[in-house]
C-alpha cells in the first residue's frame, strides 16, 4: 500500500515538473455574468497565471480588450488599471442582452535561419505562455510579456516583427499561424445570442446552452466551429477556480463529439475557466505550415 502511494506520488511529481511552463493561462474574471437592469457595471480582472483565478504572475494589458454590445455596436472599458499581477477594468452594461468582452489575437510566428544563426518571427517565444502576437507597444508594467530577455540564462535571440521582414536569404523557415480568442459573456436582463454569430474564421464558440444560464446540476452543451463548421475532436480543458482550497486542480479534459458538441457536467457551482485548442495544417498565410487556434472563456455556474 505504502509503495503504491509512493509510486503515485512520484508519477504526480514528474507530471508537475514537466507541465508548469505550458500551464500559464490567460483569464478574464468578471464580477458577475448576470445583471438586473441596464444601469449596472461589471468589473473584470485580467491576468495570466498558472492557477485559477490567482493573480500571481502577469497582467493582461487592458488596451487589448474589446467590447461588443448585444446590438453589434462596440462598447468601451472604463477605469482601466494595470497592477503588478493583474489588470482591472469596468464595462457599463447599458443595453439589455448578452455582451462579449475580451481579446482577439492573430499573427504568424516561428523561426528561420540566416547562415547558422536562428532568428525569430513575432514577439514571442514559439510555444511560450499565451503564444500570440502582442499589440503595438506591448503591455505596460507586464514583466515577462515584454521584449524577450531569454529567460533561464539563454542568450537573447534576434528577431523580426513580421513575416514581411524575413530577409530573402533566410533558410529553414518554420512558421505557425496563431489565432486566439479569450472572451467572457455578461448578460443584462434576458440573454441574447447575437454575439455568438460565427464569423466563419478560426475556432469559434457556438453555445447550445447559453453561457450565462449555467446551473451546477444541469449538463451544458457547447458547439465548437472551425472555419464555420462543427468541429469534432476539439480538445477542451475545463478548470474550476479555487485550486488552493482543494487537493487537486480537478480539471476536466474533454473532446467535442462528431457533431462538434461538447457536453460538460459541473461538479460544483463556481467560476470555471474553459480553454479549447485545435491545430491543423490549413493556415491562411501561405508561408505558414501550421495553424494553432484557441478559444478561452470564463463561465459562471450557479448553485441550483
Amino acid at each position: 500500500m505504502r509503495t503504491r502511494h509512493a509510486l503515485i506520488a512520484a508519477l504526480a511529481l514528474s507530471g508537475a515538473i514537466t507541465t508548469p511552463a505550458l500551464a500559464h493561462r490567460q483569464w478574464l474574471l468578471p464580477s458577475t455574468t448576470t445583471l438586473a437592469g441596464t444601469s449596472e457595471f461589471v468589473t473584470v480582472d485580467a491576468a495570466v497565471s498558472n492557477d485559477l483565478f490567482y493573480a500571481d504572475h502577469v497582467p493582461i494589458a487592458p488596451d487589448q480588450i474589446k467590447v461588443r454590445a448585444p446590438d453589434g455596436s462596440a462598447g468601451s472599458i472604463e477605469n482601466a488599471a494595470t497592477g503588478r499581477y493583474r489588470s482591472t477594468f469596468d464595462v457599463k452594461i447599458d443595453k439589455p442582452g448578452t455582451w462579449a468582452i475580451g481579446t482577439e489575437r492573430s499573427g504568424v510566428m516561428g523561426t528561420f535561419k540566416v547562415g547558422t544563426e536562428t532568428w525569430r518571427v513575432g514577439g514571442r517565444r514559439p510555444g511560450g505562455p499565451g503564444a500570440g502576437t502582442q499589440g503595438a507597444g506591448g503591455p505596460q508594467g507586464a514583466p515577462g510579456m515584454g521584449p524577450m530577455g531569454g529567460p533561464g540564462g539563454q542568450p537573447p535571440v534576434r528577431s523580426v516583427a513580421t513575416v514581411a521582414d524575413i530577409p530573402a536569404n533566410a533558410t529553414d523557415i518554420k512558421l505557425t499561424e496563431i489565432q486566439g480568442r479569450n472572451v467572457i459573456f455578461v448578460t443584462a436582463d434576458a440573454p441574447t445570442t447575437t454575439v455568438f454569430k460565427p464569423s466563419g474564421k478560426g475556432l469559434e464558440f457556438d453555445p447550445i446552452t447559453h453561457p450565462d444560464e449555467l446551473v451546477a446540476d444541469e449538463e451544458a452543451q457547447f458547439r465548437f466551429l472551425v472555419d464555420g463548421k462543427p468541429a469534432a475532436g476539439i480538445a477542451v480543458t475545463v478548470v474550476p477556480g479555487g485550486k488552493k482550497y482543494r487537493e487537486a486542480e480537478e480539471a476536466q479534459e474533454l473532446k467535442t463529439g462528431p457533431d462538434g458538441v461538447l457536453h460538460v457536467k459541473w461538479p460544483v457551482a463556481g467560476m470555471y475557466w474553459l480553454n479549447a485548442t485545435y491545430t491543423d495544417a490549413k493556415p491562411s498565410d501561405p508561408k505558414a505550415t501550421e495553424r494553432r487556434l484557441s478559444f478561452t472563456t470564463t463561465l459562471e455556474v450557479v448553485a441550483p
Partner: protein, 160 residues
C-alpha cells in the same frame, strides 16, 4: 427529486378529493431571523406547469421604491432561479405582481382565478441582504392542496 415529492403526496391526494374547485390561496411564512443586521428578504413565488412550459410569476416582493444609483431592482437577479426561469424577461413593477418587501410573518396571496386545473410546482424563492437564499418547491394539483417548508429563509409554504 422523489424525496421532495413524496412527503407532500398524501396531502396532495387528500386535497384533490376533499376540495372543490375554488380560488386557491398561497400562504408564505417569512421567519424571524435573529441577526444583528436584518434586512427584509426579497421573495418571489411562481408556478411551473409540471409537464413543462413557461413559468408564471404570482408575486414578487422587492424594494419597489428605491431608485437612484442603486435601484431596488438591482438585486432581483439574486433571486437566481426565478431570474433564469423568466424574471429577467418581466417588466417591473407589474400590476398585481410587484409588492414591497414584507416583515417576518405569514402572508396570504391569491392564485390567479384563471389558472387551468392541472399539475404544477409552486416555487417560492427568498434572498436576504447579508443573509442566505432558499428555494422551496410545492408540487400541487389544482384545484387542490400542497405544503412544504423552508429551513432558513422561508418557513411554511402552502396552497389551499
Amino acid at each position: 427529486m422523489t424525496s421532495k415529492v413524496l412527503p407532500s403526496l398524501p396531502l396532495l391526494v387528500a386535497g384533490t378529493i376533499a376540495t372543490p374547485a375554488a380560488a386557491a390561496t398561497i400562504s408564505v411564512t417569512i421567519p424571524r431571523v435573529n441577526v444583528a443586521e436584518y434586512h427584509r428578504p426579497y421573495v418571489v413565488g411562481w408556478l411551473e406547469p409540471a409537464a413543462g412550459g413557461s413559468a408564471r410569476t404570482i408575486f414578487v416582493w422587492y424594494d419597489l421604491k428605491k431608485g437612484g444609483r442603486e435601484p431596488g431592482t438591482k438585486w432581483l437577479a439574486d433571486l437566481r432561479t426565478w431570474w433564469r426561469k423568466g424574471g429577467r424577461s418581466l417588466k417591473l413593477p407589474a400590476d398585481g405582481l410587484s409588492g414591497a418587501t414584507r416583515a417576518p410573518g405569514t402572508y396570504q396571496i391569491a392564485l390567479p382565478a384563471n389558472l387551468p386545473a392541472g399539475q404544477y410546482v409552486l416555487k417560492v424563492e427568498a434572498v436576504r441582504e447579508t443573509g442566505g437564499r432558499e428555494l422551496v418547491s410545492v408540487p400541487i394539483t389544482l384545484p387542490g392542496r400542497g405544503a412544504a417548508s423552508g429551513k432558513t429563509e422561508l418557513g411554511a409554504v402552502s396552497v389551499r
